[in-house]
């Protein structure tokens, strides 16, 4: 199948530049006006498009939540699973289809709160997956409740006086658990984000791309962050690119400073590498 180039399609009426990767028949999507998920989704599709990897070699797995709906819009083999379980589902699929690129596209609540245990274990195993996490600091679909990523003192529908718990630093957690690739961007950094996702596809092992994004409808409104454009302008104002910084120092303070960049890019034997080290004769048996 010949892929349509984005440039060639620009300006053509009625057709989205990434339409060969979109399930047109499922549009319009459910995301709110001003929501950032579309931006991240488009970055992901652009990276797939630019990867020069056969589309049929990709699969996208999502959990539950607004971000979890991405799997339903991408015209690839795609699975919309249960809340928090996208990573173990993807783990099974990856073992069955080791040559495929498996992308897990989901939200912070799904991947780190209900699914946190699966995340750290997949990172520990260095399972060859690309995890794209839309971090909008809240449970958007259910109306904006507190999550394990919600900033201290932020208001949500279940923390009316402000969040009294401390959030995870997702990038630091990923690195500590053993991820081979860790990057964080905001939805302002579209070009860098797309490049990071591309790098993540080509990285052997567990790759994690965190995308700081806004949820103007739920999180934004409750915390008086203003209209969507203001939030993006705010990201612009407070983001600092610090590539290769230790993720523990990658500050994430949505009022004052958001440290972004590529924090981890290391070589580490993957689940499959180590499997084959322990079971070398099996590979011969498989005839691979």
């Amino acid at each position: 199948m010949k892929k349509q180039g984005i440039k060639e399609l620009n300006g053509m009426p009625g057709k989205h530049p990434l339409s060969d990767l979109l399930r047109d028949d499922r549009m319009p999507h459910i995301w709110c006006p001003g929501c950032d998920i579309g931006t991240i989704f488009a970055s992901c599709l652009t990276a797939i498009h630019e990867s020069n990897i056969d589309y049929n070699d990709f699969a996208v797995i999502s959990g539950i939540g607004c971000s979890g709906r991405a799997a339903g819009y991408v015209k690839l083999d795609s699975f919309h699973t249960t809340h928090g379980r996208a990573i173990p589902f993807a783990t099974g699929l990856k073992i069955a289809k080791p040559k495929m690129k498996i992308i897990v596209f989901s939200g912070d609540g799904d991947l780190f709160t209900i699914g946190g245990n699966h995340f750290i274990h997949a990172a520990r195993r260095n399972m060859d997956l690309t995890i794209i996490c839309v971090n909008n600091f809240t449970y958007g679909m259910t109306g904006g409740q507190v999550a394990s990523s919600t900033p201290f003192k932020a208001r949500t529908s279940t923390t009316p006086n402000g969040n009294f718990e401390r959030p995870f630093n997702l990038a630091y957690m990923a690195a500590a658990a053993g991820a081979a690739y860790v990057a964080r961007w905001t939805t302002l950094h579209v070009r860098r984000l797309t490049n990071s996702i591309l790098e993540a596809f080509n990285k052997k092992g567990f790759s994690f791309v965190e995308v700081i994004s806004s949820c103007p409808t739920s999180f934004g409104r409750k915390n008086k962050l203003g209209p969507p454009l203001h939030i993006i302008q705010h990201f612009h104002k407070i983001s600092v690119i610090k590539n290769s910084i230790h993720p523990k120092d990658a500050n994430l303070d949505i009022e004052k400073e958001i440290v972004v960049g590529k924090f981890v890019d290391i070589e580490r034997p993957t689940f499959f590498d180590l499997w084959e080290e322990i079971y070398p004769p099996i590979r011969e048996k498989r005839g691979e």
Partner: protein
């Protein structure tokens, strides 16, 4: 390969059954008394080019076997009470996505941690209704290591034929009991292959079914670019959150089983020709029940036995048929009455039903069942 005879544990026989019919993926989490299934799979799968992975919990194990099954591998997990509870979430996902796989529950006594090392049959209704929403399920039961070997193969075949997770329900005593198991040559084992659509990608829709209401699958990564979701979905697999689409999907999920019960349901009948009292037993309880039957016959009591192999769907047709013909049903089970409720439902007041219940932690002595038979 030749037929072999092995003196092995029930859990081991279960794993051997899976290997014998081509299982290539196992994801699990250690739990007494099912751990030996995982241990055997960990040893055997690499020998046959398969993969064993120990997941972080049972939710992950269940999710992983669904993913691997979509990837084309025959997949299985095994667990016991607490882990079975955790698997319920993704058993539901397997039901709605229609994913062939096998879930083994080596039952122990509950509730909660209960008696980890001792037997019970308390999860029969959990197996039926444990995941939320209304659905049909297939669950099989075994009362010996040989049966565990056989029904594990049967479970894989039914899961592929009807596209759903199939449950293997056994218990601690059968799981840990060692007995002779005859393992036939693998090429002599009937294996139901995955139903794969022959349609090209542009014509294929993932949830358009054949005449028996089961939809053929396609391989992932082969250009079909399918979508499957845990949300209510239409024939394309796309979520549609409406009552009519819910009905269309549910009708198929329910009736692909209900319309095929005659193909699915299996039971054994023993000494039924002149039976006036029928013992309905399954799993480990079928063994002392058989002994009780022999003892009753020695006393001149016309006793027969229906040994359930398929628990769900429940063999209601046969029980409805028998109810008006017999003096009573005796139902021994290691719980306070679960399958007994089904027998009562099917009998509709047409005969007397006596539960021989047990709290768990031990199996029936034949005398306990004989006494009830004699009283009837």
């Amino acid at each position: 390969m030749e037929e072999t005879e092995q003196f092995i544990m029930g859990d081991t026989a279960c794993a051997e059954g899976a290997i014998a019919c081509g299982c290539k993926f196992f994801a699990g989490y250690p739990i007494t008394p099912a751990t030996e299934v995982a241990e055997r799979m960990a040893k055997r799968l690499p020998q046959v080019g398969g993969t064993y992975i120990q997941m972080e919990d049972e939710m992950a194990s269940m999710a992983a076997i669904l993913g691997a099954s979509w990837g084309g591998l025959k997949s299985m997990t095994s667990t016991s009470g607490p882990g079975f509870s955790l698997m319920m979430e993704n058993i539901g996902l397997g039901i709605i996505m229609e994913v062939p796989c096998v879930v083994v529950n080596v039952q122990r006594a509950g509730p909660s941690t209960g008696l980890p090392t001792l037997c019970a049959q308390g999860d029969m209704m959990q197996a039926r209704w444990g995941s939320h929403g209304h659905y049909e399920i297939i669950a099989l039961s075994a009362s010996s290591p040989q049966e565990l070997f056989d029904i594990t193969i049967k479970a894989f075949n039914l899961s592929e034929k009807y596209r759903l997770p199939v449950l293997v329900l056994t218990d601690e005593v059968v799981g840990h009991m060692t007995e002779k198991v005859v393992i036939p040559p693998y090429d002599k084992i009937d294996v139901y292959p995955r139903r794969i659509s022959t349609l090209p990608p542009e014509e294929y829709l993932p949830y358009v079914s054949d005449e028996d209401m089961v939809a053929p699958m396609v391989g992932v990564g082969e250009g079909y670019r399918i979508h499957s979701t845990g949300l209510t979905h239409d024939k394309r697999g796309y979520p549609v959150i409406t009552a009519p689409v819910q009905k269309e999907m549910m009708d198929r999920l329910i009736y692909k089983i209900r319309n095929n019960v005659d193909d699915i349901v299996k039971y054994e009948e023993i000494e039924m020709a002149d039976a006036e009292i029928v013992v309905i037993a399954y799993g480990i309880s079928a063994r002392p029940a058989l002994k009780a039957l022999e003892m009753a016959r020695d006393r001149g009591i016309k006793c027969g036995m229906m040994k359930l192999i398929t628990i769900w769907p429940f063999p209601e047709k046969r029980i409805k048929e028998l109810a008006p013909q017999v003096r009573g049903f005796v139902v021994p089970e290691i719980n306070y009455g679960q399958i007994c409720l089904e027998v009562e439902r099917c009998s509709a007041g047409k005969t007397e039903i006596v539960l021989v219940g047990h709290a768990g932690g031990a199996i029936f002595h034949p005398n306990e069942i004989l006494e009830v038979i004699s009283r009837l």
